[in-house]
């Protein structure tokens, strides 16, 4: 892993305007899907985006891949501003940034053979001219599929194998950054681990950077270096994995960790504290004023409704400044408080 910044996202926004009929009136409204988020991804680094449905994680991944154009803010890839590039100018970016989708059933064309699915990106970018077939077989081998299956159709493969084809397609053009949107959540439990291991192996071998979108906190902890927790289009906590999981400061992160069932409970290692949120995530059309989490937060006070808390250095980092371990940890809460006992403590018998 080098220190070179690959992707820099600053104050990114994506608003979807729409019209709604209310009685006899036509009302204009806006869904604030992503509302001012900033993060960076370095070469070979993996950033996890977690949050509940509607928090903007998938919109963020579509913006970063430039499948969608941001309303405001900027996206820099390798120092180049790609925020508002036109389709024909995006060619190079399309090669450097690839995507792996959630559903291996709908993301592969059922009428194309595996060979044709994997050859297309090579042809589009003019890579491995004349040796396409050889490259496709290499790719199949790389993701653990039989190179002889080049003439088969997606329907002849199982879900896990199809996801491997999707991974091979993303790798075909030798990208630097891969956006993986829930890559294992459609797979069976026993297959998830195989695909996770494959992704980890490829990341290390090819020095890939990842943005990993997932709702499964166990999978994110296993795969990511840094984690950004999103709520209603905002990042509420962002930092190194260890800090987010072991010393979270934002109440939402704490509630999320506490609510996720953990298999270690069965092994007799119970978490010490339980937090149960009431209600559902509010609508992103008319998000709460001030702090967006305040409607479900047990700490909420008047100031939370008036002022939006900025994303600032975490409390623990400020109080121990000078002798802190280093590493990134930002949070956006008016009343941050470290909680260290939300996940089960696992004793390792080295």
């Amino acid at each position: 892993m080098s220190d070179q910044t690959l992707l820099k996202v600053t104050d990114l926004q994506r608003h979807f305007p729409f019209r709604e009929v209310q009685g006899l009136k036509m009302v204009r409204a806006t869904v604030r899907a992503v509302d001012g988020i900033s993060f960076t991804v370095k070469q070979g680094q993996t950033l996890g985006l977690v949050g509940e449905s509607g928090c903007g994680k998938s919109t963020t991944s579509r913006l970063v891949t430039r499948l969608d154009e941001p309303t405001a803010g900027s996206i820099e890839f390798e120092g180049r501003d790609i925020t508002h590039l036109k389709e024909h100018q995006l060619r190079g970016i399309r090669r450097d940034v690839q995507m792996i989708f959630q559903d291996p059933y709908s993301s592969l064309n059922p009428r194309h053979t595996v060979g044709s699915i994997l050859t297309t990106p090579l042809k589009v970018h003019g890579l491995h001219k004349g040796k396409e077939k050889q490259r496709v077989q290499e790719l199949l081998e790389l993701v653990g599929l039989n190179p002889e299956h080049i003439n088969r159709y997606p329907s002849e493969f199982s879900g896990g194998q199809r996801q491997r084809i999707g991974i091979a397609r993303a790798l075909a053009v030798e990208p630097k950054l891969i956006i993986a949107d829930e890559p294992v959540s459609a797979l069976d439990v026993s297959i998830q681990a195989q695909v996770m291991n494959l992704l980890a192996k490829l990341r290390d071998e090819l020095d890939l950077a990842f943005i990993f979108v997932a709702h499964d906190l166990g999978v994110v902890r296993h795969f990511c270096d840094q984690v950004a927790v999103m709520y209603l289009g905002k990042i509420v906590e962002y930092g190194d994995k260890k800090k987010i999981y072991e010393a979270p400061e934002h109440p939402y992160t704490q509630a999320l960790l506490s609510a996720a069932p953990d298999i270690n409970v069965a092994r007799g290692i119970a978490p010490k504290e339980r937090i149960r949120l009431v209600g559902d995530v509010p609508s992103p059309i008319d998000p709460p004023s001030g702090c967006r989490f305040r409607t479900r937060c047990w700490k909420a006070q008047d100031v939370c409704a008036q002022q939006e808390p900025p994303l600032v250095a975490a409390e623990a980092d400020i109080s121990t400044r000078g002798r802190r371990e280093g590493g990134l940890h930002l949070q956006a809460c008016h009343f941050p408080e470290v909680k260290t006992d939300l996940v089960a403590e696992v004793e390792h018998s080295a």
């Binding site: 297959i191 681990a193 296993h222 069932p261 953990d262 996940v343 089960a344």
Partner: protein, 356 residues
């Protein structure tokens, strides 16, 4: 039930009948004839659900967990399904029973909550009306009383403002609220058995925790038996009393949920648990089970799990390849049964865990 007072009857009988077997499934097989051949979805499955306890049926897609539970409520098309064996619900034999029998038991003796509350509630009818209708189907009461009952049920499952909410349509509810309404609908006739088929899979984590808590609370209050069908072992760990692990249409391990998850004694259960990432510890590599689940059109000979089992070499001869393992108590563990040929599975699996 006490329709005269119109109160939600919280059955306190749960205390003295707890542990009574409500559902006794034995030797159940479900097969679907198709153009390509016979899909053997469930083979020789046996389990029991008891009052006041939650039984988790765990397995991957295609393991037969949903198919077997749908057979309990008679949800398969009898013309296209071959069901053999026995399903006894509260003493009543259901295999081969006519449609009228199923109509009587649905909702009064057994009810089901499905994965997707969006598609299992009728979009054109108000929530309150749907619940009232289910109540009226089995109780001779007026519309007003049935509506009142529906409002009480919505209140019971924690829906704020139930009076107003009862007059809303499903699309006006959020996902978690809809699943609460589904649970209210399931419980309106006080069934002895509630089958929850992946009730939280479509929900967000924080809402999932609310719904699981609700199911647990209601079970304590009603004293009914709950069958929780899921693929999520972490959910099982936090909610279930008993567990049945299924693989390729057969049960492979059963026992107390906490004990099985803490110390699995069948290679498939062990493999599943080993392959899970946890949000409370860092692991270098996940220990995946190789291969994929078999096709139900063409099940492997002997033990269905043998093509993926890493311990098959430790069984003398070719038993794993040729003989279907019968249910037997796990040597050295009480209250545990497995289908496995390993002579001492506990020691074998412990040795393997230590070696890693």
């Amino acid at each position: 039930m006490s329709t005269s007072t119109n109160t939600v009857s919280t059955r306190t009988a749960g205390a003295n009948t707890a542990g009574e077997v409500v559902l006794d499934v034995s030797d159940l097989s479900v097969a679907f004839p198709t153009e390509e051949g016979l899909v053997q979805a469930v083979s020789n499955l046996s389990y029991q659900a008891r009052l006041g306890r939650t039984l988790a049926i765990v397995g991957e897609s295609g393991s037969g967990k949903s198919v077997s539970s749908m057979a309990v409520l008679g949800l398969h098309n009898p013309k296209r399904t071959r069901i053999t064996g026995s399903i006894k619900l509260d003493g009543l034999e259901l295999v081969g029973a006519p449609a009228s029998t199923f109509q009587k038991i649905r909702s009064t003796k057994a009810a089901m909550v499905f994965q997707d509350p969006q598609s299992s509630l009728h979009p054109f009818h108000k929530i309150g009306k749907q619940i009232a209708e289910a109540y009226q189907a089995h109780n001779k009461v007026s519309k007003q009383i049935a509506h009142k009952r529906a409002v009480e049920m919505l209140d019971l499952v924690g829906i704020p403002n139930p009076q107003r909410r009862a007059n809303q349509y499903p699309h006006e509810f959020s996902g978690g609220m809809r699943q609460r309404a589904m649970i209210a609908l399931g419980l309106v006739n006080n069934p002895k058995l509630l089958i929850a088929d992946e009730p939280t899979t479509a929900l967000d984590v924080t809402v999932q925790a609310q719904i699981l808590d609700l199911v647990n609370d209601l079970q304590k209050e009603f004293g009914s038996a709950v069958i929780l069908i899921t693929h999520d072992l972490a959910v099982v760990a936090e909610t279930a009393d008993d567990i049945l692990v299924m693989y390729a249409g057969r049960g492979v391990e059963k026992g107390s949920a906490k004990e099985v998850l803490a110390q699995p004694s069948m290679p498939y259960t062990y493999g599943l648990l080993q392959s899970l990432p946890s949000h409370s510890e860092d692991l270098d590599e996940l220990k995946a089970i190789p291969g994929a689940p078999p096709s139900l059109l063409n099940l492997p000979s002997g033990c269905s799990f043998h093509p993926r089992c890493q311990f098959k070499d430790q069984v003398p001869g070719d038993a794993c390849f040729t003989q279907l393992p019968e249910w037997r108590p796990t040597p050295g563990l009480s209250n545990r049964e497995i289908r496995c040929h390993l002579a001492d599975p506990v020691a074998t699996l412990q040795l393997d865990e230590g070696a890693r």
